[in-house]
Symmetry: C2
């Protein structure tokens, strides 16, 4: 056992894409140990592996069993942890690798998107005590029947945060291929600025809204248990973005960042008869079909009928059509329209609580660029507008500018 406490580090697939990069990760892990920390490393599958395995499964079955998919996919991380252990040994470090099952990451039985229900830290504790660096396969766990489960997209983040919480770690470091969390996607907005800090809540909204830095669910857990998270680059020593509880200084900032999500499609059900329960039945069915409905808009009804619009992930559009078209017939709605060429542009910031001016400033920024708003939805700390997909980047740039988020600009 070293003295300074435990640090959990998580490395994504792009950080361990080949043996050379794995050696780089090993050096970084070893350096952290040398500073006096007990290190627990969570690793994703080697970049590309997941697609290869999915391709194999696809060649055999169009709709493979989810239990068997988990069995298959979990091998990816198992390869990574073994290779990283070898790389650390090569540097003269003591290290030992584990699958999710072996370190007692117990989940429910929802294959392909299981939830962690408990972590038994006995084995990790024992190995840390004996001075070893502990390497844990991300993304995976095991249910009470010992069936292997996986935690869904970005699940390695969840493994890292949950381990950090269970081990009372000093810090959960998320290593990724970007330098931290930005005010907007730097590939779209040239002047986007890396944030030094952001609150759990803001990060959760930004993650849900399309900032692909961290998995949204893991952010929720980090916030709930107050696990300090540091998002930083695997390829640089620079500090990244600290994600912590809401702090006083943060509240001065009106808007933390702008995001764009181009992976959703809009569905509009026209002339829904204005009878209580009609709409709810349709959404119940969508939920049962495991379709994640995002924005839902219903306006006041005219002539005893109303239009209902909502967005769904584009990949679920096919499933959605089946459910919705059945519902349209049953409830006697007028028809249904689909629009895949949309983007959801959002601003996020704790500071906008109780500030009515934010929406107005956002809308006027869009108006000045002649971007037409198709849907609007708000929460306490975010405002989202659906716009045409082609206009998304222009919209993000205009909003980023309107709130003065860029480099060399005052912060609010």
């Amino acid at each position: 056992m070293r003295t300074k406490g435990i640090i959990v580090q998580k490395y994504g697939g792009s950080s361990v894409a080949d043996p050379g990069k794995i050696m780089g990760v090993a050096r970084r892990v070893a350096a952290c140990g040398k500073k006096g920390y007990d290190v627990v490393v969570v690793v994703s599958a080697l970049g590309g592996t997941t697609d290869e395995l999915l391709d194999l499964a696809g060649q055999i079955s169009k709709r493979p069993s989810e239990r068997e998919l988990d069995m298959l996919m979990s091998t990816g991380e198992q390869v990574s942890v073994a290779l990283l252990a070898m790389a650390l040994h090569n540097l003269g470090e003591e290290a030992i690798s584990f699958t999710g099952a072996q370190v007692g990451i117990i989940t429910d039985s929802t294959h392909t998107k299981a939830k962690i229900i408990d972590i038994n830290t006995a084995r990790i504790g024992k190995e840390l005590k004996s001075g070893k660096i502990v390497i844990v396969a991300g993304f995976q766990g095991v249910n009470l029947d010992q069936d292997i489960t996986t935690l869904g997209r970005g699940g390695s983040d969840m493994t890292a945060v949950a381990l950090a919480k269970a081990l009372k770690a000093k810090m959960c470091e998320i290593y990724t291929d970007v330098k931290g969390v930005y005010t907007a996607d730097p590939r779209i907005v040239r002047g986007a600025r890396k944030l030094d800090g952001i609150s759990y809540e803001e990060m959760l909204e930004m993650a849900s809204l399309g900032a692909q830095v961290m998995q949204a669910r893991s952010m929720e857990v980090a916030g709930k248990f107050n696990v300090p998270v540091h998002v930083r680059s695997s390829f640089s020593k620079e500090e990244g973005t600290m994600i912590t509880k809401e702090v006083k200084a943060m509240e001065d900032v009106l808007v933390r960042g702008v995001t764009a999500n181009k992976d959703e499609a809009k569905v509009t059900v026209c002339d829904v008869p204005d009878k209580p329960g009609e709409a709810s039945r349709m959404f119940e069915r969508l939920a049962k079909a495991d379709i994640n409905v995002d924005m839902i808009i219903q306006n006041v009804s005219r002539r005893k009928a109303t239009d209902i619009s909502f967005t769904v992930p584009k990949k679920d559009l096919h499933k959605t059509r089946n459910v919705v078209e059945k519902a349209v017939r049953e409830i006697g709605a007028g028809g249904v329209e689909y629009d895949e060429n949309i983007a959801k542009v959002s601003v996020v910031g704790i500071g906008m609580r109780g500030h009515s001016g934010v929406a107005a400033r956002m809308f006027s920024a869009l108006a000045s660029e002649k971007v037409n708003i198709k849907m609007i939805s708000t929460s306490e700390i975010k405002i989202s507008c659906v716009v045409g997909k082609k206009e998304a980047d222009r919209a993000v740039k205009a909003i980023h500018r309107a709130f003065g988020l860029g480099k060399g600009v005052r912060k609010s």
Copy 2:
């Protein structure tokens, strides 16, 4: 639970080399279930996977930890079982896949060549009872600390035989890329004949001597527990070779088959002082270094010194040099010679027990081809001669002919 009892089927890597072949295996497995058997399938890693994983490990470390190698290599079979389960589902069959750990294949902790010490069949029994086809990852198990272990080369055969024993299976079918066990390697001897039956003991010798049909250790276990084994082709419906206890009819056959092993090297330590214990010390050290010494020849000593020759697997020759050269200095031997260009040619047959003519017939066959014999070693049911590697095929052909083993020839 079906009524006819349990059949364990094992498919090697070449039988599941790609999705198309996996579908073929699934059809064969399903057909067996349709006949009324409970089927337990043991699968190896997809052909080629093992080499790819070893290559990855090799890029990271020259001497990877054996625990981590097992962690890495065991993913290969895990991929196979998941894919085979998907393929069976696709055919409308109920099937479920398991790792070695999940079905309680408990081994000792000798990583990379662990021995099975127990199998807890509870989970398999439960799934068979519910009508499912059970698929088990071959080659792997788990020690009492839940660390993943592997069973060494050909370990999937061991998994199959051990499961067949534990489940009291009616039959253990070993599917491979050849049609059964032959009187000699059909690639070398054109007239080689497929055997209908062979005894455990004979098969054990043949496997040890280079017939790559089945792992020798698993043959030992099959014999010990009297597990009926059927070696047959994954690509044909033809019956293969039944391996059973020695039966009366078998004893009429003098020689069952001829094998050649070209994977050994000969080491000769010259002028070893004729003091008790000198040689044994050297072999103890070789054992400690995990080197499998095969034939050992020591002749009567002349002038208080003797020459000792033995064979080792060629892949261990480097390790062997280190041990032997140290020993030569310590015991004051005259020197050491190595010969990699050898082959061990053997005849095997229960019938040769008490028949002194076999050795003579073998030697004269070699003499007639002018093949020089470098070493001779015998057991109750086999005779092995080390010859020059270049002469091996000619030697095998001559012996095969001398014992009348070919097609259309009377059987002894």
